[in-house]
Symmetry: C2
Amino acid sequence: MTDQLTATAARDSRRRSMDDQLRRRASSVIPGGMYGHQSAGPLPPEYPQFMRSGRGARIWDVDGNEYIDLMCSYGPVVLGHRHPAVERAAAAQAELADCQNGPGAVMVELAELLVGTVQHADWAMFAKNGTDATTICCTIARAHTGRQKILVAAGAYHGAAPWCTPRLAGVTEADRANLGHYTFNDLASVRAAVTAAGPDLAGIVVSPFKHDAGFDQELVDPAFARGLRELCTAAGAALILDDVRCGFRLHLGSSWEPIGVLPDLSAWSKAIANGHPLAAVLGSGAFADAAASIFVTGSFWFSAAAMAAAIATIGALRDEDAIAVMDHMGTRLRAGILDQAAARGLEIRYTGPPAMPYLTFAGDHGHELGTTFAAAAMRAGAYLHPRHNWFISAAMTEADLAAALTATDEGFAAAANRLAAST
Amino acid sequence: MTDQLTATAARDSRRRSMDDQLRRRASSVIPGGMYGHQSAGPLPPEYPQFMRSGRGARIWDVDGNEYIDLMCSYGPVVLGHRHPAVERAAAAQAELADCQNGPGAVMVELAELLVGTVQHADWAMFAKNGTDATTICCTIARAHTGRQKILVAAGAYHGAAPWCTPRLAGVTEADRANLGHYTFNDLASVRAAVTAAGPDLAGIVVSPFKHDAGFDQELVDPAFARGLRELCTAAGAALILDDVRCGFRLHLGSSWEPIGVLPDLSAWSKAIANGHPLAAVLGSGAFADAAASIFVTGSFWFSAAAMAAAIATIGALRDEDAIAVMDHMGTRLRAGILDQAAARGLEIRYTGPPAMPYLTFAGDHGHELGTTFAAAAMRAGAYLHPRHNWFISAAMTEADLAAALTATDEGFAAAANRLAAST
């Protein structure tokens, strides 16, 4: 037993020496040591803060530990890390130029490709952050309608600008003075919020499904989506689909196309260039004049390399049938995980689409079991998250899936042990 | 004469066939055909909208026309296009990984380098847009002080989010409810704005010098800068230096170090990674807790390639004495241009630091002479701007300078002709 503990301790210290050293250095020069959605601070110590490299569905932290990647950089990596065609396209464009006095021809090519790929889109604008895209949608909706109020689902994440960040430090009341709230999948709550906004309703922002961090996910009720569409049309307000997190992982088009509901404006980022920095706003023709009337820009918004990467990404998504691959591998991961939990008598909820799942344990309101599960799965080599939905990439192979399931079974063993110890 | 006109028409049509074609395609899929600060729509027809490539201080548009680059991608390119050490560093990092589940070690290295390079900085945060950086500074100032009001100079550009974009379409009154205004270099106006903000003053945002688009530039009066510093210290408010446009082009440190005035927070972007997409907020230790208390993030804020590029950029700026080179070449450009204008009896104002000059003609309130000058200079191969400050890069050679001055002399000839025709 002592030998085993010593071996574990030695392995654990070897696993984290570079990460620990970087964390110490970071604590001196970065507020809190790290910030934002990738901060490992609130995660168990099994999580490295600093990453070294990735290939396909495999990633390595700065200490060389290998993981099957079930987070995909929190969404951007959809074809797998370092997808050859995407990297070739980005490098070839960068060899010519990236940030210039004007966009490259790739901006037009990408806009045409998006308009041809996404059903509701008649035009495209580009930016750098998902937050840029959601904010621009709201600005266009206001410019189009001459109104101010924007409705969002309570608890939904639409970015980290003052109007939408989930933490209120440094945010003023004025930043949110024109927001109203509704409950996802509850059309009556939307009607009430629309009534409250009155003649000042500019738009309604909605996510393709409910993916609020730390909560079981909830697919959209098609009747809810249709109801939103009807309410917006009746009010002359913009229906804004926040496809930043889901876009091009669930459908090669906007995420509500399969249920037949088209937004007026949609916000994109994350997966559209397989990890290269890009965001987009897509819109219908009726909103083109309003889109042209606003002034939004950024020093790198017209840079060509990320746009070349996006063209290659969309091509590969299509040519490799990547959406179906992610759905298929995600479905098999789900089946394996449900079997593992059942075999150990653990009651879990595994929610959301197969390519963007989230796992919770029944009654685990403080995420103790979920955290135990995640820490053990990480030790066993599956990079997943206890309080955020996971992401499957199209690079996942049979071997990756098997390795992921071996790791999740370690996770369930640890959760079962914890549950047994506490009862 | 007919032959000459035909030749000119033929050359002009050859110069723009690809650009014209792309503009037509863009008009169908991009609102207004283009948007933001790089829109060629308001510029003379001599300006291409779409660019192809760049090397050093030379750039080529999509039709293969060559220019000496006096805009440097509106600031980001500080060492010249495709600087070998910067591109090598970015490509080597990208070969490992760019966007991952956490930052690479380069994030810590870059934060340490910035803290060691910029005098007031005790910590660094990273983002993607200059607007991200200025907005984060305001949020940190509010979190630190628990107050709301931010003062900005009337007419200054601090980004394109609703709180600061220069065009009001889609912007609500609430977006600007907590702004107050002062006049650059007018300390009495700042005192009045501070008094008006009362106990709710969170911070004052200021640019290193006045570089409002379309106006003669104005260097900062050191007494004004010192006065701002004293007012902020006395009020317990944050002095926020918006170094997005000037940072690392005028000084290898924050731009007010040469006059001995240090801000509490500074916003950076553009030149810090020689065109790779990155922004930064730097701050003093007193503001670290507030910086750690806010939630700001973005999908690509922790991507490693742009950070590797920034490390290489700062190293090259130092090793190549790039600030002095830009100042020297900018000073010689200014001398040449002043000589050319004087030789033609043209009264001009050539304002701002040598590396970020701006040219106007006396009495040219509608920018007619400036536009004539710019169009002719563009035809003759110098890419500069009639309503925005120019940028000199450290890649400018003797041959580049000579070619630029040949082109500006063509510009002055055209301006003199226009002036003669109108009088």
